[in-house]
Symmetry: C2
Subunit: 325 residues, 2 copies
């Protein structure tokens, strides 16, 4: 890639974020009455519903604090990050320490799910806000919440499985993948050996159980020891997801000074995901692909959503940075 | 509609069912080894997965027995209906009397859900098979299972609600709608006043709580007393679903000798659903529409699936039969 081309690309992404995306959300998403963020917005910024999803609170708080720490020390960004963190701490935690999935505008709980993603995104938000503000109690809370995630993830019976485990046990790519990214963000705030240990363990699990050389892809769902299930769910590949896993691993390679094994694994995942996932006719990455080329059942399988394309941009750019290929 | 046009249409639907659809499924879907039906089939009849959904067992058993009773007394149809009923009775019931959502090919339970549709479709299958075969124990079982559905539907706390009820209570169109059709099919086998009572009650509930004259549509989800929630879920209209509700009501009008109030209600529902749901540019009925014309969030909202079009054919043809309009 020529330096000019690279400079042009960085300009597109920087301005897209700082001059377009971020001003829209800062202008329209802050709930000054009840706290937190209202994120169901139409293109003109008008509100489509006021129910508040918890995931996006952790994620937006993370973004704002990360921009403060890495781009520009604007007090507005730090205080809007705290605005989301405060809402989470006031309304998003159930009595068992777990978190809700969505709450009303005022913060009354609507749904709680059997997944740990509300908690994972709260960890990254708390970590980034704690590190940016220097307030150690948020970093401590992030570490404590991360330990709670690990306990619920590891101890059988704490979360109700979707499929009756006496008949069939399954596990998803999403958990080891999100544990990598969560531990990476937590590590920026908290120096605890747990972070590296979980990152190592999660990368090993993905490589051992989800990456399938014979199918040249990364599966979304496998048995507890990586068993391939020849069902719609067992054959499902989500290229955007696996590219995301690939760049989390490349990010770890970068942090560790260009670890060649991690570069090899991360680029292989991205190469395979692009080979199976990129639409050669019209371009773009569809939502789901069947690993054996059979018809998927998800109605949305051939939609091209925005986020897999963001993952692809990040993943391929990071791969280029590490390999110059 | 001219008699020639009507004759041509009946030919299309009759031959589509008896000469095309049905032979495909009878040839490819019968599991001679483990019983029941394998219904995840590719266009050439090859198997895409062997896990068995329970809904379709009740529905296919119903279809086969209904064809036997109303079209032609072919022993094959009756025995293939029993083939599905036997699988349900061997493998689909949990120890609490409720039914699973899916099982393995051998019949081991995979999923159980918090909805009562496996049970409702088993009732129509048992009713139709019982009536067609004359074996009263299947009719008795159908009535008993119908009573179980009503108990679980009515008694708070027996089924876990999706949304925390202390914060917000909601109910869906699907249950009163399916109770009408289930009771109509049960009534053909069992002469119990419960059937008419549930049909009356369900039609009243739909008219009172889900049909919204000010929005000129039928909502999918409302509060316990028909309250409108101005959220994505509360604004959701599923035209295929509401047309289906409309023709269940028209079918009741037909059974009751052309009841003018039911004809008025059923045709109004179909008219409104077509007005909000029909795509004036390309034709066809999309999956979901927002009652206020705002963007829906379901990825699949603008897909045109096969089944809403079947509902539309049945609904408009039945409306024509009853009104000659």
């Amino acid at each position: 890639m020529s330096p000019d081309r690279l400079k042009a690309l960085f300009g597109i992404y920087r301005d897209g974020l700082l001059a377009d995306t971020l001003p829209f959300w800062v202008r329209n998403a802050i709930d000054r009455t009840h706290g937190g963020y209202i994120t169901a917005l139409d293109r003109d910024g008008s509100v489509l519903q006021t129910d508040k999803p918890i995931w996006v609170h952790g994620r937006f708080a993370w973004l704002l604090a990360t921009l403060y720490a890495t781009v520009d020390r604007r007090e507005e960004w730090l205080s809007l990050s705290k605005h989301g963190i405060d809402f989470l701490n006031r309304h998003a935690f159930d009595t068992d320490g777990r978190m809700f999935f969505s709450v009303t505008r005022e913060g009354r709980p609507l749904r709680k799910r059997r997944y740990l993603f509300s908690e994972a995104f709260a960890v990254i938000g708390l970590s980034a806000y704690g590190a940016a503000s220097g307030e150690s109690r948020y970093m401590d809370q992030a570490l404590e919440l991360f330990r709670l995630i690990l306990r619920y993830h590891r101890e059988p019976g704490l979360l109700e499985p979707k499929v009756i485990p006496a008949t069939r046990q399954m596990k998803g790519l999403a958990m080891p993948m999100i544990l990598i990214a969560t531990a990476q963000e937590l590590r920026k705030a908290v120096h605890d050996p747990l972070c590296d240990a979980i990152i190592d363990e999660s990368i090993r699990e993905i490589e051992r159980d989800f990456v399938k050389p014979d199918l040249a892809c990364v599966l979304e769902t496998v048995g507890p020891n990586g068993e391939f299930y020849d069902t719609f769910e067992g054959r499902q590949v989500c290229p955007g997801h696996s590219i995301e896993a690939g760049w989390f691993i490349l990010e770890e390679a970068r942090v560790r000074g260009g670890d060649p094994n991690l570069i090899r694994l991360g680029t292989r995942i991205i190469d395979w995901s692009m080979a199976i996932g990129w639409d050669a006719t019209y371009g773009g990455v569809p939502y789901f692909i069947d690993a054996r080329g059979l018809p998927p059942t998800e109605y949305s399988h051939d939609l091209k959503l925005w986020w897999p394309h963001n993952e692809t941009i990040i993943g391929t750019l990071l791969a280029w940075q590490l390999t110059r290929d």
